[in-house]
């Protein structure tokens, strides 16, 4: 990026809420239902029906507002945002405009230089999702109304972000918060957590904002970062060539790695907002708000600090383990069965996460439960198997779904810690490898590795490495001439 310029970025995030029913009717929000089966006269937009607000949505909004340090408006109103599109049967989206449920708040994040930044949250408001359009070659568009009326919270940030990586950090943190609050599953690929970015650039030191563009259709963190970087570069190039930025909406194309303007027809936006006459103002009394605040779960940062203090974990570990609520719970469940917290942390960060990434599954679909992993690691802690053997047992557990103890027993993998037995093996190996013994005595310490290898081979990896090392050194040194 040209160093003369700085980018100014604000994000609009839509979080689809994990309520059971829709915003204004009792239809299910489940997204894998057959097309047009979760519908009723209200979400179909039939004339004469009356919407009734889902209390849970208000609760979720207050929770998120509290987590993002927002003020909660004790009176907020719904508004109609008017536009015609076939996936919006009513001809307007019920949203909030002038008085949203949550006002100004902020999030503190660290940029890649570990500098703390305060990112303002302009507002959070409640609104309904639209349906889905399916286009095919037939000359028709097919409409599924199931998603119509599914509740969303829109979280609008101030233009406080200064780079694509800032934006990604903000987004990751916001997703972490909605997941911890259990109000949204945060799945960007499936569209339950969506992000639009407003991007402009200006010369460094300039106060006035440049003309902004809006980028849509970025369905992963990576794409958000790529799309914003693309747009920053594009705008700088235009300005450097003496051109002007056109205010417009761009669609990110992940296959082509570029953003192209949306067709102007889809863009003609004059929403003519007005207060929704079918819904009275949403009034939140202080007692209810206090009750909801009390229900707020432990948030990611607090949990991370607790992991450091309570389990004596390094910041790095605590950070990784608390990135997802499910992983942090998996950790805390596992340590019910074994006491070496750091060992559990290492295994989750390494072996477990590796498998999850490879198989692209979430921890809830991981076949080795916390108790099974805890029991496996307890076998290491108590010296019954070595860490190396444990890796094999772990893979075997994945494969056969058997418990660690069973596998260890079946395959006779218990560690050999018996001193006499190991001494005999070592004596034997030293006898057979006289030249290496001489090398050692001549100061070539690295042949120790060779002997350990031989011993492990002889015991099929079951020798207790610590005992082997001690005994081996003892034996070798006893061969030194006095």
């Amino acid at each position: 990026m040209n160093q003369k310029y700085e980018a100014v970025i604000g994000l609009e995030v839509h979080a689809q809420l994990s309520t059971i029913t829709k915003l204004f009717c009792g239809c299910s929000t489940s997204f894998d239902a057959q097309p047009n089966t979760n519908v009723c006269p209200i979400c179909l937009g039939h004339p004469g029906v009356l919407p009734v607000l889902n209390k849970k949505v208000v609760e979720f909004a207050i929770k998120l507002g509290t987590a993002l340090n927002c003020g909660v408006n004790h009176k907020s109103i719904f508004a109609r945002k008017n536009y015609f599109y076939p996936d919006l049967p009513k001809g307007f989206q019920t949203s909030q405009y002038e008085l949203p449920i949550c006002g100004y708040g902020f999030m503190i994040l660290k940029d890649d230089g570990e500098v703390e930044k305060k990112i303002g949250i302009t507002r959070i408001h409640m609104e309904e999702d639209a349906g889905k359009s399916i286009h095919d070659q037939s000359g028709f568009t097919f409409i599924d109304v199931n998603r119509c009326g599914v509740p969303l919270l829109e979280i609008v940030s101030e233009p406080d972000l200064r780079s694509a990586s800032d934006a990604a950090v903000y987004l990751i943190k916001l997703r972490q918060i909605v997941q911890y609050l259990d109000i949204c599953d945060g799945n960007m690929e499936e569209g339950s957590f969506r992000c639009d970015a407003n991007v402009s650039v200006r010369l460094k030191g300039e106060e006035k904002l440049g003309t902004k563009t809006e980028i849509k259709n970025m369905n992963s963190f990576r794409n958000v970062e790529k799309a914003i970087n693309f747009e920053i570069e594009r705008q700088i190039e235009i300005l450097e060539d003496g051109g002007l930025i056109t205010q417009q909406t761009l669609l990110w194309n992940a296959d082509k790695n570029e953003a192209a303007p949306m067709r102007s027809k889809e863009e003609a936006h004059d929403y003519r907002y007005f207060p929704e006459p079918d819904l009275m103002p949403v009034v939140i009394n202080k007692n209810w708000e206090a009750e909801i605040r009390k229900l707020l779960p432990e948030l990611p940062e607090a949990k991370r600090e607790r992991f450091i203090k309570q389990y004596n974990l390094p910041l790095y570990d605590a950070d990784i383990l608390t990135q997802s609520k499910a992983i942090s719970e998996y950790f805390e469940n596992t340590i019910q069965f074994t006491f070496d917290y750091k060992l559990v942390s290492n295994w989750i960060m390494g072996d477990v996460l590796k498998i999850l990434n490879e198989r692209k599954i979430s921890i809830s679909d991981f076949s080795i439960g916390p108790q099974s992993l805890g029991n496996l690691l307890e076998l290491i802690s108590t010296g019954q198997i070595s860490g190396k053997i444990a890796k094999d047992v772990f893979m075997e557990m994945l494969l056969t779904k058997k418990e660690a103890e069973v596998i260890v027993k079946e395959k006779n993998l218990l560690q050999i810690s018996d001193v006499t037995k190991l001494e005999n093996i070592i004596t034997d190996i030293l006898q057979r490898n006289n030249s290496q013994v001489k090398q050692y005595l001549n100061g070539e310490d690295k042949v120790v590795g060779f002997f350990v290898g031989q011993i492990m081979k002889e015991t099929k990896g079951k020798a207790n490495p610590k005992t082997v090392n001690e005994l081996l050194k003892q034996k070798l040194n006893s061969k030194r001439p006095n």
Binding site: G26, T37, L53
Partner: protein
Amino acid sequence: MSVSQSDVKYIAGLAKLKFEDSEIDSLTEQLNSILFYIDKLNQLDTSDVEPLSYPVEIELNMRDDILKASVSRKEALSNAPDSNDEYFKVPKVIG
């Protein structure tokens, strides 16, 4: 405040309404007479008055997040000008 004929055409376009030119004349006139009346109201100083979005002072009733039976797909699709077994069919939106 008043509206011109092109304002009226623009608003009609947003509402997907089509009018003859002669109708636009009378609509512009009618809208302007309404706006004239609003202008009259605007002469009052309302700087200390909170905007009134709703004429009655009732709070919103909310419902619990409990599933209710939806209508059948057949019923849902039955009012549509065009549909197949699963979807509403509309003229192609984008190419």
